[in-house]
Amino acid sequence: MMINLDILTFLIDNNLDILKYPILGKIVDIFAIFQMIMGSNNRITIDDFLSQLQIISGITEGSIGIKDGVNPLDPDEIIDFIDVFSLKILLNQLTQRTVTPKKKEVVGTNHETIIDHSKTNAEKLLDLIDFKQAENKTNLQNDTLVKNLSIKVKKLLATEPKSFQLARERSKETFPVSEYIPKCNDKSHSVILADIIYIANNKIQSIQISKITDNIDLLDCVKSKIHFIPNIKPQTDLSLGDCSYLDTCHKLNSCRYLHYIQYIPESLVEETKQRTQALNEIKLDNLKLPFYTHGYCCSTASKVKLPPQWIKCDVRKFDFDILGKFSVVIADPAWNIHMNLPYGTCNDIELLELPLDKLQDEGVLFLWVTGRAIEIGKDSLKNWGYEVVNEISWIKTNQLGRTIVTGRTGHWLNHSKEHLLVGVKGNPLWLNKHIDVDLIVSTTRETSRKPDELYEIIERLVGPHARKLEIFGRDHNIRPGWFTIGNQLTGTCIHELDVKRKYDKFIEVSSKQKQQSQKKRQHNNNNINNNRQQSSASLTVPSNMMPQAPLSSNKENYYYNMASRGVNMPYIGQNSMNTSFNNNVFNSLPSYYMPSLNEPQQQQHQKQYYYGYQ
């Protein structure tokens, strides 16, 4: 007996629908639907239908599951399972036998359409690797379902959480804008300008703008963009090309390589300044409308940033408990990069042993690393309880905005970038992720000075009022809202009263210890001196006349700083609010909890501190 292919394809195509509500696998209903689909031209009786089902399930055993499983089939039985795969195999077997000649024909016509005989061999070969065309073809061949699904999956994978979008939008609307002037990329401009600009003493003295008033394009470009003018001197040898150091060259008056001077018209600077100022006033107004408050403290607009705080200390011997907890920590250790020194690893071990795990319960740590220290840094972060979630690359550029490609800056390859590891501890829900990218493009400055862009990125990540600490900082690192510690800082300045109290205690204890040890040493020295004096009278300066411990002078300095800034009590409340714990509590409050502190005086302060260092 022949198998009815129509029934077979019907079962395969509609396997889901006929098992679902409202048919629920009832054979009578399935038969009715089958009749409906087939129309009048191919009518069969219900008995034929039943026997066909029996044949099919007999050939492909278990492909059609009957609820009660009694033989022979009854129209009132219910199908509860259809194995489409085995049915498809059966269909395949049957159709291959009957439709083979047809298929060949199809292939033949396809063939002709792909390769056009009028084309040359080269064109034909090019057609073969034309992937755009291939894309269209495969799309046509593809099942629409597959296509739709893959589009859906791609869309899902590319969709980012709304929190990313909101945070990005907020930063765009409320974060202060920096003055931005585009660079001119047209080399011919600087050549023309070099002729009409008079340079003396490595400064632009005058410009004969009348000579280019006809060249409107150039004039517009000069009015709106930064140009770099070749500073050609008697000793300059143009065939040598540009100086590797450019504006940082120490031998500017004898170097035979080409140097440049940045040229921006005063009017452009003024215009940019005004435009940026106007923009920033809008941004500041926007900040007062808290449309999205996640991750910020409850009074972002009115709250004053803490003025810069710093402690000069030997970080290795400092008691980190004094400082409290922070939302963000930056560390820029002086890694010992000399691989060959046998004692070189000492520094690294010291760094690893720093109790950085004390500084945060949950938060983010940024660690600058170079070369070999990349691995040590990753290990240290793990030891301190952090997970490395990002590696920011700082692409270092020079005066002309080019990457640094010369000067043997690395051992095997030149180094055009530096790495900044980003570690996260705990599960800080108050972070605003994905506002910035993991790249910083910025010019190099003094040796090992890192780009200021990082502070901005951090401020967007944790909000302007979170407590932030920088370890191994220098004087140029201090800034409002930040606590800086390091041995190269000048003096000490603390505004948070609980930190001040703990620090005073620490100083007291350590100076006592110092005095004790000094007394001991003094005693010993005296003994030695006595001994020496007995042996020779030439020793004149006893070592106990050496300067006193620097820590006591720090203390004086600290009071001096407090006094000179006229800072007394206003930071008591803020201090406790600024610890990372409290900050988080406030962050989680909805925006309408925000107290209205928009008094004019505070706004002034706000401006001063918030925009002060921009």
């Binding site: 969709t159 585009p182 005063e266 002309l400 690395g410 390859l413 030149n414 910083i440």
Partner: protein, 321 residues
Amino acid sequence: MFSQEIYSNVKTNEPKTKRVSFRATKEFHTNNYTNHYVHNGSFPQKHVSNIENTVDGYPKLQKLFQEKERQIANYATKPFGCKVNIDQIVPTLNKWIQKDHLCFDVVMIGCLTDNQFIYPILSQLPLDRLVSKPGFLFIWASAHKINELSKLLNTEIWAKKFRRSEELVFVPIDKNSPFYPGLDQDDTSLMEKMQWHCWMCITGTVRRSTDGHLIHCNVDTDLSIETQGAQNVAVPEHLYKVAENFSTATRRLHIIPARTGWETPVKLRSGWVIMSPDIMLDNFNPKKYRGEISRIGCNVPLKNEIEVLRPKSPVQKAQQN
């Protein structure tokens, strides 16, 4: 009356403002591209001014790059492709090692996609037998993946065989780039990922001051930014060029343990054997390859022009003096 006023204003103001406006400012201005990105959406890397020609402004270096490219092309094997399914990569390489006794000086593993199966290659393959001594290993992956692999690569056995020497970075130009990493594996990150990383390992000993016949140091940098021509291929040219410029070896193998699909075909490159499930040509034959190598030699020979131009360690100079 009114229009006259305006006219007179313009007339009197124009020359004045002109003279003032074009005077140069004294302060040096630097742009904050990070801030600019937040407000204008223009990616910071787009503002690097030597993307298309990295050695712009340095004629000596430009000449060096040209000379090196010519010399490398002159001593390159013909391009070989080896089309192998991902699960057959390790067995095939094992066969090359054991039966065909093939050995490579430069081995690059991975490309710029996230669904790579690098771990099995590193853990199952006797890499130290595939890579000659001295030899160079480049592993390209996302920073996330490199981090995962570093657990393996930092183990003592591994670290002894392959010394990690540099970390390279490749940066796509924007989000429309075929090399934009996308949001894959990006659930925990705080900043949007815009880079690919590469571990460069050295096995055996080479000295940068004395082994000029084996390596040319400080020619390239550890950073590549996507150029305009680099699109529509799975592997941008930069990745190959860094390896070619650094090592003078001619036996180079690139293993791509990932499906890159027909949208981004893996192209052949002369001087390289490329093993990938999606390579465009499958023409590799160990005998033929050995023949090619014996024809051109194992190293690109020294050339005077290059020796004069390439950066050298100051130690060597001191010795010469």
